[in-house]
């Protein structure tokens, strides 16, 4: 087992004006589970990549990285390959070979292990991760969660002492993400592997970690147990505190008294002490817009002999609303979007599209680009519509402004961050002035700040009459921004209705805030609502506890 340490590490990318890392000193102890967090672009990836010479970026560097107390570059490549395991964010692109068993053996082959050793280690890891049932499969046929688990197992077959994971669950749905993190936790607990994990979705990871480190603009701003880190962020009034799980935010808002609750159960214990007032936020019925797009008893399957994916689905999209569809993996959420966009035709039932134009955003926004600058992309999209040039210019300016791209117009779309790429792709679609926008998992791999800004942009679009239909695993996002929501199950939409009523009525498909506060505030779905109710309960209790004499 091993420890790693950064000593006063400062790093600047070539041609960059500011340093990506500034004087970072951090020791990860032997067998520790360290969580590294911070907003996108704060330097998490840059820091983690310093833990392996082969992956370290080029640039100006001061300070040292140590493995077991010795400078990392004194360890040869073979030792580093074996002792430090690295799992990256993209499950698909990390896989090298076509067969699961071969992928597991790949690292050991590189190290020149003999057949018996490889056999044993591969078998051991396959059993540990429970992947012996799909040992024979082609890697291409695996789900995203299985792929990432395979990447982890393939690294673990080399018996590393340190496991470095760079946002490994960014592309996974919440259930697969939780399963993946549990596997990491098991490795840490049962095999004593030192774990350094960076994450932006902290709900599961924070409770698992021994210590958390928070980076802000390349600087280490908080380090300690999750509670200590939360207190430090709170003391600095850090904007990153807003990305903490709901129980922690609630605890912070209520004065950070007592132990910090890290999960829903502990959060409930906190609420039990406060006993928030039973005044629930009012459910104002939104005035519904005119129906734009209607599906009536739609049945769909991909092949004649394949099972039905949609079984009598009814759905109406109105002007100016955000409609959220939630549901498990493989429930057919993406199929609903394909039917709405006209890409797939139902074999029974009706699609009433009228004159409404529909535009779908690809899950991978890069698929929508092909020019050198964002401006050229937008101009191209306008040219395809054969608009007059003043009209085209107006639309381009409008789309760029509404997607906050004005400063990025001269950049190459492939150089933008994930969130910016998505906004650029959306802007291309907006040039067509669609009545309905279809989004498939728009918040995948995005941090809290990007999610909030995307939500605000979508709401601004809706205020202008565009309808947005999104399918997502991101319950918190749907609860905050959607006007109506529904659960897709068994090929039908269940419990379709106003978002608040929908999420407040669910037990599992609802926000952490609602799950915590349900006994007292059954209609509260946002963390702020719970906080408000708690504050008013505290002031109310304060008044009651000091009665006039």
């Amino acid at each position: 087992m091993a420890s790693v340490a950064f000593e006063h590490l400062t790093f600047t990318y070539p041609l960059a004006e500011t340093s990506a890392l500034r004087d970072v000193s951090l020791t990860v102890r032997e067998g520790e589970f360290l969580l590294l967090c911070g907003v996108s672009g704060c330097g998490k990836t840059t820091l983690l990549r310093h833990l392996k010479t082969a992956l370290t970026p080029h640039g100006a560097r001061q300070g040292r990285v140590l493995l077991d107390g010795e400078a990392l570059d004194t360890w040869d490549e073979r030792a580093q390959a074996q002792r430090i395991g690295f799992v990256l964010q993209q499950p698909e692109d990390q896989i090298v070979t076509d067969k699961v068993w071969h992928e597991l053996a790949f690292g050991l082959e590189n190290l020149g292990a003999d057949e018996r050793t490889i056999q044993l280690r591969v078998g051991e890891m396959a059993s540990f991760f429970g992947i012996q049932t799909w040992f024979d499969r082609e890697t291409d046929t695996l789900s995203g969660g299985q792929k990432q688990l395979l990447n982890l197992a393939a690294v673990m077959a080399m018996h590393p002492d340190v496991l470095v994971l760079d946002e490994p669950t960014g592309q996974l749905d919440p259930i697969a993400a939780a399963e993946f993190l549990r596997a990491v936790q098991r490795l840490n607990r049962e095999l004593g592997v030192t774990v350094v994990l960076s994450e932006h979705r902290l709900e599961d990871a924070l409770a698992m970690a021994d210590r958390a480190a928070v980076l802000e603009d390349g600087r280490l701003v908080a380090l300690g147990t999750p509670e200590e880190a939360a207190r430090a962020l709170l003391a600095q009034a850090s904007p990153f505190f807003a990305a903490m799980p709901a129980p922690v935010r609630l605890w912070g808002a209520l004065g950070a008294e007592g132990p910090c609750p890290l999960d829903v159960r502990a959060g409930r214990a906190l609420l039990r002490r406060v006993h928030p007032a039973g005044r629930s936020p009012s459910v104002e019925p939104d005035p519904e817009g005119a129906p734009l797009l209607t599906l009536r008893e739609v049945w769909f399957r991909y092949e004649r002999s394949a099972p039905d994916v949609l079984r009598g689905l009814d759905l109406t999209v109105h002007t100016g609303e955000i409609f959220a569809i939630v549901g498990g993996n493989g429930s057919g959420k993406s199929t609903v979007l394909a039917v709405l966009s006209g890409l797939q035709r139902p074999y029974r039932g009706k699609v009433q599209r009228g004159s409404a134009t529909v535009a779908a955003l690809a899950q991978d926004p890069r698929a929508m680009f092909w020019r050198d600058t964002v401006r050229a992309e937008l101009e191209d999209a306008a040219r395809a519509l054969h608009l007059s040039s003043p009209e085209a210019d107006a639309r381009i300016a409008d789309a760029a402004e509404s997607m906050a791209l004005t400063a990025l117009l001269e950049r190459n779309p492939f150089d933008l961050s994930g969130g910016e790429q998505q906004r650029a792709a959306l802007a291309k679609l907006l040039i067509r002035r669609p009545d309905v926008l279809l989004l498939d998992e728009p918040t995948k791999g995005m941090d809290a700040a990007f999610r909030a800004s995307l939500g605000a942009l979508l709401q601004a679009l809706c205020a202008r009459g565009t309808a947005v239909v999104l399918v997502s695993h991101d319950i918190a996002f749907c609860a905050r921004f959607a006007r109506r929501a529904a659960l897709l199950f068994d090929g039908r939409l269940l419990a379709e209705g106003p978002a608040r009523a929908f999420f407040a009525g669910n037990h599992f498909y609802t926000t952490a805030a609602n799950r915590m506060a349900r006994p007292w505030l059954p209609d509260a779905i946002l963390c702020e609502e719970v906080i408000d109710a708690c504050r008013s309960a505290q002031t109310g209790a304060g008044e009651r506890s000091s009665p006039p004499r």
Binding site: E77, E92, V96, F106, G107, L111, E115, I118, A367, A384
Partner: protein, 299 residues
């Protein structure tokens, strides 16, 4: 893509070197020997094994286009080759149709059919995994390349589909030249995305020590008693077949008149050995089936 081999086929479960050697010998004899006895043995065995490996229906499905191919081969050879002494009749343009050219066409068509049928079963038996095990033994670097290519092909075709979908939403192509430009654009976008993804793959490979000296190739197979037993049958049989061929017992001349080597003791032995050799997979399966039946009746 590649069909997974039927798990209960005993020949499929054998070591890759044996399946490889089997097909090399059988295909070489089929393609190089134009003797009716050998070709008949080869065609019948190929059909029988394919029917057992796939289904009789699968065999018929392939015969549906193999048989017309055979007829066409015979027809064209007779029409365009007029050598040979035994003239059967004259065409309207004065060219002769000879017995020799018909027989030659017939044998060529049987060779074609047998080769196609052997390749059909080879496609099921020699999975990508076995192919890789064989190449891994000859050239380890090539084997990894093959594996990566097999991973790349389905991925890139899916990426093309996705890109086309996304681009169609923006620029619905109308007309032929538009469609052409659309295709070029989809391809260029796909390549850019694939190159970006390849950077991650390269990182993942380097971080797992790719490029260190002394790389080994892991194979998931073993050389056990069954392999030894099969080889003990296969090698002598192949030797007898080869001895017959080298001694000219499969010689065949078509022009000016038909002249096939008459079977003597060596020729007969060579043909019998070839029959046995071609049917080794079926015999192996038969033996397994009998073992199963015996085991079951003992319960």
């Amino acid at each position: 893509m590649y069909k997974t081999p039927p798990r209960n086929d005993a020949f499929c479960a054998l070591h890759s070197a044996l399946s490889f050697a089997f097909y090399v010998v059988v295909l070489a004899v089929t393609m190089l020997v134009l003797h009716p006895a050998y070709l008949a043995i080869s065609l019948c065995s190929a059909a029988a094994y394919l029917a057992a490996l796939d289904t009789p229906r699968g065999l018929l499905r392939r015969l549906r286009w193999v048989l017309p191919l055979m007829v066409i081969t015979v027809f064209f050879n007779a029409m365009f080759s007029h050598r040979g002494m035994t003239v059967l009749f004259y065409l309207r343009n004065g060219n002769a149709v000879t017995l020799e050219s018909i027989v030659f066409g017939l044998l060529a068509s049987v060779m074609l059919a047998a080769t196609v049928l052997w390749f059909a079963s080879l496609h099921i038996v020699l999975t990508s995994e076995k192919l890789m095990a064989v190449t891994g033994r000859l050239a380890p670097a090539l084997s990894l390349l093959l594996s990566m290519a097999l991973r790349f092909v389905p991925r890139i075709s899916r990426q093309i589909k996705r890109t086309a979908q996304a681009q169609r939403a923006l620029y619905p192509p109308a007309g032929l030249s538009d469609r052409l430009r659309f295709g070029v654009r989809v391809l260029s976008v796909t390549v850019s995305v694939a190159l970006e993804n390849a950077v991650v793959t390269a990182d993942s490979m380097r971080s797992r020590g790719y490029g260190l000296p002394g790389r080994t190739a892991f194979r998931r197979e073993r050389w056990g008693a069954r392999e030894r037993g099969f080889a003990a049958l296969f090698v002598p049989l192949a030797a007898v077949v080869l001895a017959g061929l080298l001694a000219g017992r499969a010689a065949a001349n078509f022009y000016p008149s038909l002249d096939f080597a008459a079977p003597d003791a060596l020729g007969a032995a060579s043909r019998a050995a070839f029959t046995l050799l071609c049917n080794l997979p079926l015999l192996l399966n038969r033996k397994e089936a009998l073992t199963w039946r015996r085991l079951r009746s003992n319960i």
